[in-house]
Symmetry: C2
Subunit: 194 residues, 2 copies
DNA sequence: CGTCTATTTGAATGTACTCAAAAGCGGTGG
DNA sequence: CCACCGCTTTTGAGTACATTCAAATAGACG
């Protein structure tokens, strides 16, 4: 368990001094999850954010009919949390569950707040990360508004090639906002197209 | 034209010294738009971000069929830009157009970069703003995945009461991801429900 | 090989869209 | 003042995209 993957990730955005690095490292926790374990559970306060170093998670919402709607998948070198709950420290609306055995570097809410004061550059780091995440979220929204299910699937397939391998189809369907049966029909339709 | 509305807005997130305020003010521009004018046009680089002090804008995408998909409305005390274009300084995918006469306080990309170095607190300011914006964007995504058109409209009506007054229905339909005809049918349906 | 889960297939249904036409609603000018 | 124009909203019929439910197949794993 070491902080190296996070430090390498951070250098893509900002550079830290050795001292800053060791302060940061002193405030990290490391944790392993089994397939199926929850990192965040609806109703609980999300007390830490998780930077994944291996594995895969899904973040999803359970609607009033008990149906699951997947908002995002996270893998290595990406963050996984209920951001709304984390920043407000109020109960989470969403769930984060491991769909593979997963390893994470975690920062508790309290430590994150301390770190922002100890290392002001981290405000810049997360400002930049959030800028990109927001752009990605807006682009996804527009795709959901403007593309048909088939087009959304083809985009997903192309954009997230590696995900198609490791994620069950019924979860991809949920992410795309369609039923598993309809995704299956879309796939057979695509085969006929060729 | 003064910077007061922006300064008041900022105090909700961070506090600036008098000196920091005057640096900030020196880097702002003020601009008025007529109804129908574009603040950002698809294909152009978005060279500034706009903080609205009056009026209303829509941010939208034009799809391959020439259809318009509204991503957001912005009013007083909110930002309006193509964030993806602004942070990358690459051509915009989206358009921002005034649907009312609109006044904005603007910060150019160059000035924003300078300001981040001159006033490190601004990294924190925008980190916090972006956190909230991302949460809002994710919540909207989930509503689009999990609610029917009627439910989305009822949510919009309740959440954005003031918008219903000032924004034409066909634009609200676009924002909700449905056709204007169908929104009209939903409304008559809701009247029957009562 | 059997069991459990995931995927596919088909028929019937529902939600939302398209197209066309009519009705409503301002604003402007004669 | 009202008649006309352009734009927005409504209504209706027919259609398309996507869902539901049920059953059959296929895959994965012990």
């Amino acid at each position: 368990m070491d902080a190296e993957p996070l430090l390498i990730y951070i250098t893509k955005f900002i550079s830290l001094t050795d001292e800053e690095e060791s302060i940061l490292i002193s405030r990290l926790n490391f944790r392993k999850y089994l397939k199926g374990q929850y990192i965040v559970q609806h109703g609980d306060v999300c007390r830490f954010s998780s930077f994944l170093t291996s594995g895969c998670t899904k973040t999803f919402y359970i609607d009033h009919d008990g149906q699951e709607h997947i908002m995002m998948f996270s893998i290595k070198d990406w963050w996984s949390s209920d951001l709304g709950s984390f920043i407000s420290q109020l109960p989470a609306n969403y769930n984060v569950q491991c769909i593979e055995p997963t390893e994470a570097i975690q920062i508790s809410y309290e430590n994150q707040q301390k770190l922002y004061d100890e290392i002001p550059k981290l405000d810049r780091l997360f400002r930049k990360i959030l800028e990109r995440a927001l752009v990605a979220s807006q682009n996804r929204l527009v795709r959901n508004l403007s593309l048909t299910a088939k087009e959304r699937y083809l985009f997903f397939k192309e954009q997230y090639t590696s995900f198609e391998q490791r994620i069950p189809q019924y979860m991809i369907a949920s992410y795309l906002g369609i039923t598993k049966e309809f995704l299956s029909k879309i796939k057979s339709q695509i085969i006929l197209d060729q």
